[in-house]
């Protein structure tokens, strides 16, 4: 096997470049996830308010984000907003904004679901013990929703990591793009490189997401 495609991975800095590409994706998704979780918790609490205005606002936001493909949102943020308001958002920043908006909406809906699954008498008994709203949430409601939320949050996180591969379309060089570059550069010498490169990318994504799933399992067991 003279042209074994695997060798392209070890030529020059190719492997390092792939890792750098992966880091671009991971960095955006991790920042977005870290912002989305607290914002989503707040948004979820906001959605459970009885006030009709808050309901309408959250409904519109949630539906808008859900209906729009993430790619369209990215284009709006990167190309649209720049044109319309003259803000010069870098691809990085627009990606973080879009994925945070998306993650907050999704996380909020998960939190809302978990919150309404807590029986009303839990709120009553916390109130009867003199707890205010914040204490009720902090000591009674949130700890009980945590366990329900872990698997859902992890699922969302891995989805976000995977979806950030879309940033290639607003000109960012993430792992897939690097892979494509490597394949293109070696097209004639190593025709089988594609399989190896994409195979490695698959493995890299797996290595990024798998520990998160493991962590979820552990946490779920611990917080019985």
């Amino acid at each position: 096997m003279q042209d074994s495609g695997i060798s392209v991975l070890f030529m020059g800095k190719n492997f390092l470049r792939l890792l750098e590409g992966l880091w671009v994706t991971l960095r955006i998704s991790l920042i977005a996830v870290l912002l989305s979780i607290p914002l989503g918790i707040l948004f979820g609490m906001f959605m459970t308010m009885k006030n009709p205005v808050s309901r309408a606002v959250s409904r519109v936001y949630l539906e808008f984000i859900r209906i729009m493909p993430q790619l369209v949102l990215l284009f709006i943020a990167y190309f649209g907003v720049t044109r319309a308001f003259g803000w010069n958002l870098s691809a990085d920043v627009s990606a973080v904004i879009v994925f945070t908006l998306w993650g907050t909406a999704e996380m909020g809906d998960l939190v809302r679901g978990a919150l309404i699954s807590i029986p009303k008498h839990q709120y009553d008994s916390a109130a009867a013990l003199g707890m205010n709203k914040i204490q009720t949430f902090g000591y009674v409601v949130v700890p009980q929703t945590m366990r329900r939320l872990i698997p859902l949050t992890i699922n969302l996180t891995t989805r976000m990591i995977k979806t950030t591969s879309l940033v290639v379309l607003i000109g960012m060089t993430e792992v897939l793009k690097v892979g494509k570059q490597i394949i293109d550069a070696n097209r004639f010498d190593y025709p089988t490189a594609a399989l190896w490169v994409y195979g490695v990318i698959f493995l890299l994504y797996f290595l990024a997401c798998w520990p998160i799933s493991m962590l979820a399992k552990k946490l779920e067991k611990r917080w019985r």
């Binding site: 839990q122 008994s125 109130a127 013990l129 003199g130 709203k133 204490q135 009674v140 366990r147």
Partner: protein, 254 residues
């Protein structure tokens, strides 16, 4: 029983939508008094209790506890609720916390008391109801009667001046009712002011200083227990008591 008025309800009206659940309740409860509220289901007993600690806000009328008005105003009510313990039908312990943590949570976090001091109180109370060895257990490992006793202790650890009991034995197996009622009797003997909603007629008669009979959102009778059970003043109360009496109707031929 002292003469001091602890809980004063005046002209209390509560409506849910178009339905009037409480229709002008006037009630004075003295310190140390044990008042049992009886009545057919849907007569507003639970709503009355829930109004007394601000879980429901009155549509009209006022409730005063020790001269302070019970309103649904955020800050004030959380202060006031520390003086009113309440135990519910659905022994709602916090499922994610063990028994000791269930009991100490509110005194430590709400009243800012020292954890060690609260734990001493909890130990004394748990030992008294025979549940000390369950302190590390989780609510799901306890029987209904045990959970309900813990719920009572949890409320007591806030050192309340009044205790409200909302059908606390209604969801229990008959054998477990006794252990919960015994705890309440002991509490009454110690001079706690108590308002109890129950369907246990024998118990009501045994514990009450005073029976309030509610029907359609009104106080129909307000009398001493012996008087109420042997010689009710109103037709409505007589009918109600009769629903608990069974006459022998079947004859057996063996």
């Amino acid at each position: 029983m002292e003469e001091r008025i602890q809980l004063q309800v005046s002209g209390l009206v509560k409506r849910f939508g178009t339905e009037t659940v409480l229709d002008g309740i006037d009630l004075c409860i003295r310190k140390g008094e044990v008042v049992v509220v009886l009545g057919p289901s849907g007569c507003g007993k639970s709503t009355l209790l829930r109004c007394m600690n601000g879980l429901e806000s009155p549509s009209a009328g006022t409730i005063f506890l020790d001269g302070e008005e019970v309103t649904s105003d955020g800050k004030k009510i959380t202060q006031l609720r520390q003086k009113i313990g309440m135990v519910f039908q659905s022994y709602d312990l916090f499922p994610n916390k063990n028994i000791m943590d269930n009991i100490t949570l509110a005194p430590v976090k709400v009243q800012k008391r020292l954890k060690s001091e609260v734990e001493q109180d909890a130990e004394r109370l748990l030992k008294r109801v025979g549940l000390w060895e369950k302190r590390k257990a989780y609510p799901r490992e306890l029987s209904g009667g045990q959970k309900q006793r813990v719920a009572i202790i949890r409320a007591l650890c806030m050192n309340p001046e009044v205790m409200l009991f909302d059908e606390v034995t209604a969801a229990l197996d008959p054998e477990m009712v006794r252990e919960v009622l015994d705890v309440m009797l002991e509490l009454a003997d110690q001079g706690m002011t108590m308002v109890i909603v129950t369907h246990e007629m024998q118990f009501a008669r045994a514990i009450a200083d005073r029976i309030i009979f509610l029907d359609n959102g009104n106080i129909v009778e307000d009398s001493k227990p012996d008087e109420f059970f042997t010689n009710p003043k109103t037709q409505r109360a007589r009918e109600f008591l009769q629903t608990f009496a069974y006459k022998k109707r079947r004859t057996h031929t063996d």
